[in-house]
């Protein structure tokens, strides 16, 4: 059965001290295997929130998130973690590498957690990402672009059917960002993963199969 992700009628309100912040007000979207989708929107429009909900890191107030036939919303904490481990590769804006592990350790971490470590693929990945010579270094000894490449590698190492990326090149200069993204698209293409990527840049959004815009809590195509 081909992979498919369906988000339907998602609502999310944050309670704050003054008044509740309604961030998502009935968001729906879908993503098929191998497809890539750009998510744009103003700062504070709720892009990260949506991504976190899809990844099961937070709870929506209402709505469903079907990932490979499982509804993330109904699952318990442990099952959500398992679904994330097996099916989702997360690329954070701020890399979120494990500081005490080397590049090699970080790269293979999720794949080993999911029990899907493939040494050949790992070696290939490291070479393609240009990390071969950095394998023994620690994250704090890397530049921003290098760290971002490690984060991408970690998300792809277990060949998850779905990759969620939150402004993966937000910290990089344009040239480096382009190079890193090209790499990401190539790898996604090869592993036939679906990609949902948050970006501010129209130029980058144009390189993906499709794009949606989030504003005032709604998606407009």
């Amino acid at each position: 059965m081909p992979f498919r992700m369906i988000v339907s009628n998602l609502w999310k309100t944050y309670s704050s001290e003054e008044k509740p912040i309604e961030v998502l007000k009935g968001v729906s979207l879908s993503l098929d295997q191998g497809q890539s989708l750009a998510l744009t929107g103003e700062s504070g429009s709720g892009k990260s929130t949506l991504l976190h909900l899809i990844a099961g890191l937070d709870h929506p107030d209402r709505g469903d998130i079907l990932i490979a036939g499982q509804n993330m919303v109904g699952l318990g904490q442990g099952e959500r973690a398992a679904l994330r481990r097996k099916s989702i590769g997360l690329i954070f804006q701020s890399f979120n590498l494990i500081p005490s592990l080397t590049v090699a350790g970080n790269l293979s971490f999720q794949a080993r957690l999911a029990g899907r470590a493939d040494p050949d693929w790992m070696r290939d990945l490291a070479r393609r990402l240009g990390l071969e010579d950095l394998m023994g270094r620690y994250p704090e000894e890397l530049s921003g672009g290098q760290q971002q490449r490690v984060a991408i590698g970690r998300a792809l190492a277990s060949r998850p059917p779905l990759v969620l990326a939150d402004e993966p090149t937000g910290n990089l200069d344009e040239a480096t960002a382009d190079a890193v993204l090209t790499l990401l698209f190539d790898l996604i293409h090869e592993s036939r993963s679906a990609l949902l990527m948050v970006t501010h840049s129209d130029r980058l959004a144009d390189r993906l199969d499709a794009r949606v815009h989030l504003s005032a809590g709604h998606i407009d195509q």
Partner: protein, 709 residues
């Protein structure tokens, strides 16, 4: 999955080895001090039990009411009256240069269960009591006696330290007297036996021998040690708490990432628990070894102290008991869990999505602070409650503990308020940052400060206690050891002869009569006071009726020591029941340092009258100070006394002071160790603090402040 996550979590320590060392060291020091003290206590208790079981202390005995020895005739009468009793003699005895406790028993009548020794020798049943007899000793004493001339030695581990067990006839001939110390009673006695008062009113039956009371006497000493061990453990826990929290704090982002990547919170907690257990076992191992080293270093001192203060025999050697290993690991794991439970709990509730890092933690600190203050107030309240209602040593310790811990827990509150005030009053942005930053560091810092405060308080407390003890003790010695020379004549007759001989050659002769007696059912003694200025001027009376010495001299009243007075709420004018139906009034209370037993001081004439057979083989002599040396030599030569039998005041004081100092060797050592642990805690938390602050300094540096500030 588990291996990969455990690897990621443990990799933190590879990157922060110093932190790991601090944590393991903290936990192992805490464990070490605790197990060390436990080991010492266990060893001492084992010695007491051994002494009790090997000498039949569990069984009832018949003794003379006035504490004097029994005669063979007494024994025969008791047997005739239908009692199942066996004679026993027990005395100090020297074999060459070695002082031992000589215990003589009669094998034929010895009740079952009186001793755990298997004294019957199947091959040669007569060997025990037929001359030359046998000496039953433990291995250690056997090695010491190797070169001495003794009957054949039989070695058994069950014989208490420094004790020789032999046949009563052999013991009596060695001691040169046919005295019997006591009659040991069989567990079951014939119902138709004649009551003692009908045929031998001077004898009385007692539940158990005095030797069983040794553990009671030494209880306070062991409680002291335990309290110290516990305190060190608590101080150690503060370090452990600080390091564990720090390690969790530093890995907060890692935990988030690991969970975002797909590990459930429950699994992560289990892995962290495993990590804690691993560290605890490692520290437990180091701790038990350290504890053993500490215990074996301190034990000889403790043994010497116990022997000196209470006459309790404790072997100066430490056995290796597997139960300590278990206890050491247990306390280490308990400590790690106790110190880590809060961090673990927070981890479980940590949302995967990050909020502001320090800010979130600080909010939880404010919540904890409230809880902590409540706990502190509760502790202080229970201290007050204990002060009003509690009695006894244990309650005293609990009170002190609650007070100390309560104050320590209260400490962060004023610190927090002070920094808050600083922040509010700050004018410049830099000052504001300084106060805000200091406030943020409080959670970490206050833990170390609490540990330090606890240790300092104990140190000052113990220091003052010891020095005031020393002062009291020296004063006490000056008062109690007023006579310039003390002579042990060896027997009453000899003492009497010597005294009348010496009369006129010295300023005064002070006979010392002594009777062991039950005072309020507990072992104690009655000693005599001659009607002489020595007593009137020097005796340390705390509370006394007018003309107290006249009352004592007349025989109508006695003095009691402070211990007895406090234990039984005795008041002046009250009467006290003494053996032989004597009921004198209490005319005063005197201080009697280091004696846990009750004591009564009675007038010399009254003692002579009431207890004519009491021991009075030693006496004191008053002479001018410059004559002491010469007189000592003179007496030694004239009466052919060994040097040990005639002691001058100065060397007696020195001996006593040595014993005193030895008591507090242990305290001093533990004091230093506790302070070291606390200093270590402060260092640990400052060291990790600076590593956590580095990025922040960088940040404020970027904002335009020079990093040097």
């Amino acid at each position: 999955m588990i291996l990969a996550s455990l690897g990621a979590i443990l990799s933190h320590w590879r990157r922060h080895p110093v932190q790991l060392v601090l944590l393991v060291l903290g936990l192992s020091i805490a464990t070490a001090l605790w197990t060390g003290v436990q080991a010492i206590n266990a060893e001492a208790r084992r010695s007491y039990d051994e002494a009790a079981s090997a000498l039949g202390a569990d069984l009832g005995v018949i003794v003379r009411s006035d504490g004097g020895p029994l005669t063979t005739e007494d024994f025969v009468n008791v047997r005739r009256a239908g009692w199942l009793a066996s004679p026993m003699v027990e005395a100090d005895f020297s074999i060459g240069p070695i002082d031992v406790r000589l215990v003589g028993v009669e094998l034929l009548t010895l009740p079952r269960g009186a001793t755990t020794l298997d004294l019957d020798d199947a091959e040669d049943p007569g060997a025990f009591f037929q001359p030359p007899g046998q000496f039953w000793v433990n291995e250690r004493l056997a090695a010491q006696l190797e070169r001495q001339e003794t009957p054949p030695l039989r070695i058994s581990d069950e014989v208490p330290a420094n004790t020789v067990i032999t046949d009563i006839g052999i013991a009596q001939s060695l001691l040169g007297a046919s005295d019997i110390s006591r009659l040991v009673l069989s567990g079951t006695q014939p119902a138709n036996r004649t009551p003692l008062r009908d045929f031998a009113p001077h004898l009385e039956e007692r539940a158990a021998t005095d030797s069983a009371d040794v553990s009671r006497l030494t209880d306070s000493f062991h409680l002291n040690l335990t309290a110290f061990g516990l305190l060190s453990f608590v101080v150690g826990l503060f370090i452990v708490y600080a390091s564990i929290n720090l390690a969790f704090e530093q890995r907060r982002a890692t935990f988030r990432t690991i969970r975002a990547v797909g590990l459930s919170a429950r699994m992560l907690s289990l892995i962290l628990l495993a990590e804690l257990a691993l560290i605890a076992v490692l520290s437990g191992m180091v701790g038990v070894i350290l504890g053993y080293v500490i215990a074996s270093a301190l034990l000889p001192g403790v043994a010497a102290t116990l022997r000196g203060l209470y006459g309790a025999a404790v072997t100066g050697e430490l056995g290796l008991d597997p139960s300590w290993w278990a206890a050491g690991f247990g306390i280490s794991i308990f400590g790690a869990l106790a110190a880590g439970s809060q961090a673990l709990y927070r981890m479980l509730r940590l949302p995967v999505l990050s909020g502001a890092h320090t800010a979130a933690w600080f909010r939880s600190f404010t919540r904890d602070l409230r809880l902590q203050t409540v706990a502190a107030v509760a502790l202080l309240a229970s201290a007050v409650a204990l002060y009003w209602t509690g009695t006894g040593l244990l309650a005293g310790f609990a009170l002190l503990g609650a007070l100390l811990l309560g104050c320590a827990l209260l400490l962060p509150l004023p610190l927090s308020l002070a920094t808050l005030a600083g922040q509010k009053l700050a004018r410049s942005p830099l000052a504001e940052w300084f106060w805000a930053d200091t406030r943020m560091q409080l959670p970490q810092l206050s833990i170390a400060l609490m540990a330090l405060m606890l240790a300092l308080a104990t140190n000052i407390g113990v220091g003052t206690m010891v020095s005031s003890f020393r002062e009291t003790f020296t004063g006490f010695l000056d008062q109690r050891l007023a006579a310039e020379l003390y002579v042990d004549a060896g027997s009453n007759e000899r003492a009497e002869a010597m005294q009348s001989d010496l009369e006129g050659r010295v300023d005064a002769v002070l006979p010392l009569w002594r009777v062991q007696a039950r005072l309020f059912g507990e072992p104690g003694d009655i000693v005599s006071a001659a009607d002489h200025a020595t007593f009137r001027d020097h005796w340390p009376i705390i509370e006394g009726a007018p003309r107290v010495w006249d009352l004592v001299a007349s025989g109508s009243a006695v003095l009691v020591n402070e211990q007895l007075a406090r234990r039984h709420d005795l008041e002046l004018g009250q009467t006290i029941d003494l053996p032989g139906g004597w009921r004198p009034e209490i005319a005063g209370v005197y201080s009697d340092y280091g004696n846990t037993a009750g004591q009564v001081l009675a007038g010399l004439e009254a003692m002579r009258e009431r207890y004519p057979s009491a021991d009075h083989s030693s006496f004191g002599l008053r002479v001018a100070e410059d004559r002491v040396g010469a007189l000592r030599d003179e007496i030694m030569a004239q009466y052919d006394l060994p040097g040990s039998a005639i002691v001058d005041q100065a060397s007696l004081k020195q001996l006593a002071q040595q014993a005193f100092e030895r008591t507090f060797i242990v305290t001093g050592a533990l004091n230093v160790l506790t302070l070291a642990v606390a200093g270590f805690a402060l260092f640990a938390s400052l060291a990790s603090q600076s590593s956590m602050r580095a990025p922040q300094r960088l940040r404020s540096g970027r904002l335009g402040f020079a990093a040097r500030r």
